[in-house]
C-alpha cells in the first residue's frame, strides 16, 4: 500500500496529540479534547458517506446515541471489559445503520437525507423518553439515583490516559476508512457516485455496497458514542437531538468531507469552539449567532471545506 503525505501527516498528528495534549492542558480541556476526538470519528463517518457516495447522513449523532446506549447497557448489565462493550456498541450500531439503510437504499440526495433525519427524530424521542441506562433494573436500566460506576478501559482510567485512548481509537477508525477507500469498496463507491446504473453495469452490487457504507459509518458512530459514554460515564438525551445531527453534517461539510483533517476540523468547530466561547463567558445566545454566521460563511466561501482551503494553501501537501 502506498503511503501518502496526508496519511503520514495524519498519523503524526495523532501521535503528537496523543502524547502531548494530556500533559499540556488542564483537566477541563482534557475532557473537551476527548469529546472532540469522539466527534471527529463520527464526522469521519459522515464524510465517508458524503465524499465517497454523495449520501447524506443526518442521523450520525443519533447513531452515536445508539452506540452510547449499548455501551452503557453492556457496562451496567454485564461485567465485561470496556473494549468488549465498545466493540459491541460498534457492531450493534453498524447493524442499526444497515437497517436504516434498507428503506434509504433506493433514495438519493435530499430524500435520503430526510429519511435519515426522520430516523434521527425517532432516535431522539426514544432516547429522551427512556433515557440512557445508569445501572437500574430491567431492559432500559434506568434508576432515579446517581449512576452506577462506569468501568473505563484498564489502561485508561485517568482522564488524560482516556484522551489518549480516544485518539488511538479514532485514528484506528480513520485508518479503517482509508483501507476501504483504497480497496474494492472505494472503487465501487466511486462508481456508484458517478451513477448507480453505471455501477450496476460494472458488476457492482449497488445495494450491498451502499448498505456497507451505512454500516461502516454506523460502526464509527457507534464507537464514537461508546467512547463518549466512557468519557463522561453517563449520557444525556440532549446530546443526541436531531438538530445536532444536522449540525455535525454541516460542520463535516465545512471542515471538508472525505479527509481526516476535515473530520478533525469539524469536531473542533463542534466542540472546541463552543467551549472557547463558554470559557470567554460569551452569552450562549450570541455564541449561537456567531456560530450560525460562521457556518454560513464557511459553507459559502469554502466549497472544498476548510481542509480543502488549507490544502490549497500548502501545495506541497497536495495528495
Amino acid at each position: 500500500m502506498a503511503y501518502s503525505t496526508s496519511g503520514i501527516a495524519g498519523l503524526a498528528f495523532a501521535a503528537l496529540t496523543a502524547v502531548f495534549l494530556p500533559v499540556l492542558v488542564g483537566s477541563q480541556w482534557v475532557l473537551i479534547f476527548t469529546s472532540t476526538a469522539c466527534f471527529a470519528l463520527a464526522a469521519a463517518g459522515i464524510g465517508l458517506m458524503y465524499a465517497r457516495l454523495n449520501m447524506v447522513s443526518l442521523t450520525q449523532v443519533g447513531l452515536m446515541g445508539v452506540g452510547g446506549w449499548v455501551t452503557l447497557r453492556m457496562n451496567h448489565g454485564l461485567g465485561l471489559p470496556f473494549e468488549f462493550n465498545l466493540l459491541a456498541a460498534g457492531v450493534v450500531t453498524a447493524a442499526f445503520g444497515m437497517l436504516l439503510a434498507l428503506p434509504a437504499l433506493r433514495m438519493r440526495g435530499l430524500y435520503l437525507a430526510l429519511i435519515t433525519l426522520m430516523s434521527a427524530g425517532g432516535i431522539e424521542i426514544v432516547l429522551s423518553t427512556f433515557r440512557f441506562p445508569n445501572g437500574g433494573e430491567g431492559f432500559w436500566g434506568v434508576m432515579p439515583s446517581v449512576a452506577a460506576p462506569f468501568r473505563r478501559p484498564v489502561l485508561a482510567i485517568e482522564d488524560g490516559a482516556y484522551l489518549r485512548y480516544a485518539i488511538v481509537v479514532s485514528t484506528l477508525g480513520m485508518l479503517l476508512i482509508e483501507l476501504h477507500r483504497r480497496g474494492a469498496p472505494g472503487r465501487a463507491w466511486a462508481m456508484i457516485r458517478r451513477s448507480e446504473a453505471a455501477a450496476m453495469a460494472s458488476g457492482v452490487n449497488v445495494t450491498l455496497y451502499k448498505a456497507w457504507a451505512f454500516a461502516l459509518s454506523g460502526l464509527l458512530a457507534g464507537l464514537a458514542g461508546g467512547l463518549l459514554a466512557g468519557s463522561i460515564g453517563l449520557l444525556d438525551a440532549a446530546t443526541f437531538r436531531a438538530p445536532e445531527s444536522i449540525m455535525l453534517f454541516a460542520l463535516a461539510v465545512v471542515g471538508g468531507a472525505g479527509s481526516w483533517p476535515g473530520a478533525v476540523i469539524a469536531a473542533i468547530l463542534y466542540r472546541v469552539l463552543p467551549a472557547l466561547f463558554n470559557d470567554w463567558g460569551l452569552n450562549p445566545d450570541l455564541a449561537l449567532v456567531i456560530f450560525g454566521a460562521a457556518l454560513l460563511h464557511a459553507i459559502m466561501t469554502a466549497p472544498e471545506g476548510i481542509a480543502g482551503q488549507i490544502r490549497a494553501a500548502l501545495p506541497r501537501w497536495a495528495k
Partner: protein
C-alpha cells in the same frame, strides 16, 4: 447468438417497445431507428435495467431473471448513451472496478487490464484521474471497460456521439477488434449510418417501438421503409 423474443415495454400510456423480436448472429450487429424509436430501451432490457415482457437469450442462456450486476458478472458489458466513468478514479481503477466483481487471481486481472488499456491506447494514461481526460479518452475508457473480464456480449449506445470523423473511424476499428480479441458478440446503436454500415454486418431497425426491418445491413439500408422513416429520403422511393 442473441435472441430477442417479443419484447414489450410500456411507460404509462407510451409503448416504447412493441413485441420486438430479433436474432443477431453476426459478431457485430447494429440497431438503428429514429429518435425515440426504442433503441435505448431495447438496450436497457438486454442489460436488465428495465423489466419487459418477452425473453432475452444470449448463447442459449435466458438472462431474464438476472439483475444488471449479475448480468455483468455473467459477461455482459454496456456503454451508456452518455459515458459513465467515475471522475475520481484513475483510468486503470475505472477498469479495475469491473474486475473487482469477477473471480480470478490478481495477476490474471492485472494482465487483463493491461491488455485492455493497450488495445485502446490508454496505457500511457493508466494512472491519470479520469477527470483530466477529454471527451474521446473518456469514450475510450468506457469502451476499455467492455474489454476486461472475458465479455460475452457487448452493447454500445451511441459510442460515436460527439466524436470527430477520424475518432469515429478509430473507434469503429476498436469495436471490430472486440470480437476478435474477446470472442464477444457486439451490438451497436448509432445514428452515424456510415459507421453502422462499415462495422455491422447485420442491423435491426426500429420505429415507434416496432421492428420495421432486420437483416444484412446493406439490404436494410436500401429498404424503402427504412429510408422513409430514418434517413428521410422517402420522396425518392415513393
Amino acid at each position: 447468438m442473441i435472441e430477442l423474443e417479443k419484447l414489450t415495454v410500456k411507460f404509462g400510456g407510451v409503448t416504447a417497445l412493441d413485441h420486438v423480436s430479433a436474432r443477431f448472429e453476426k459478431p457485430v450487429s447494429g440497431i438503428i431507428g429514429p429518435n425515440g424509436a426504442g433503441k435505448t430501451t431495447t438496450m436497457n432490457v438486454i442489460s436488465g435495467f428495465l423489466r419487459a415482457t418477452g425473453r432475452v437469450c444470449v448463447d442459449g442462456v435466458d438472462l431474464g431473471g438476472l439483475s444488471p450486476h449479475r448480468r455483468t458478472r455473467w459477461g455482459l458489458r454496456r456503454c451508456f448513451q452518455q459515458e459513465q466513468i467515475a471522475d475520481d478514479l484513475s483510468v486503470a481503477d475505472n477498469l479495475q472496478v469491473l474486475l473487482d466483481a469477477l473471480p480470478g487471481t490478481r495477476t490474471e486481472k492485472r494482465a487483463d487490464l493491461d491488455s485492455a488499456l493497450d488495445v485502446t491506447g490508454l496505457s500511457a494514461r493508466a494512472d491519470t484521474p479520469a477527470s483530466e481526460l477529454n471527451t474521446y479518452e473518456r469514450r475510450l475508457t468506457d469502451l476499455a471497460r467492455c474489454l476486461v473480464g472475458r465479455p460475452r456480449l457487448v452493447v454500445l449506445d451511441e459510442p460515436a456521439g460527439g466524436l470527430g470523423p477520424s475518432e469515429t473511424a478509430h473507434l469503429g476499428d476498436l469495436i471490430l477488434s472486440i470480437a476478435v480479441l474477446t470472442g464477444a458478440q457486439t451490438l451497436v446503436i448509432d445514428h452515424d449510418v456510415d459507421l453502422i454500415s462499415r462495422i455491422c454486418e447485420q442491423t435491426l431497425v426500429l420505429d415507434f417501438g416496432r421492428r420495421i426491418a432486420c437483416g444484412e445491413t446493406a439490404a436494410v439500408l436500401e429498404d424503402p421503409k427504412v429510408r422513409a422513416a430514418y434517413l428521410g429520403i422517402a420522396e425518392e422511393g415513393a
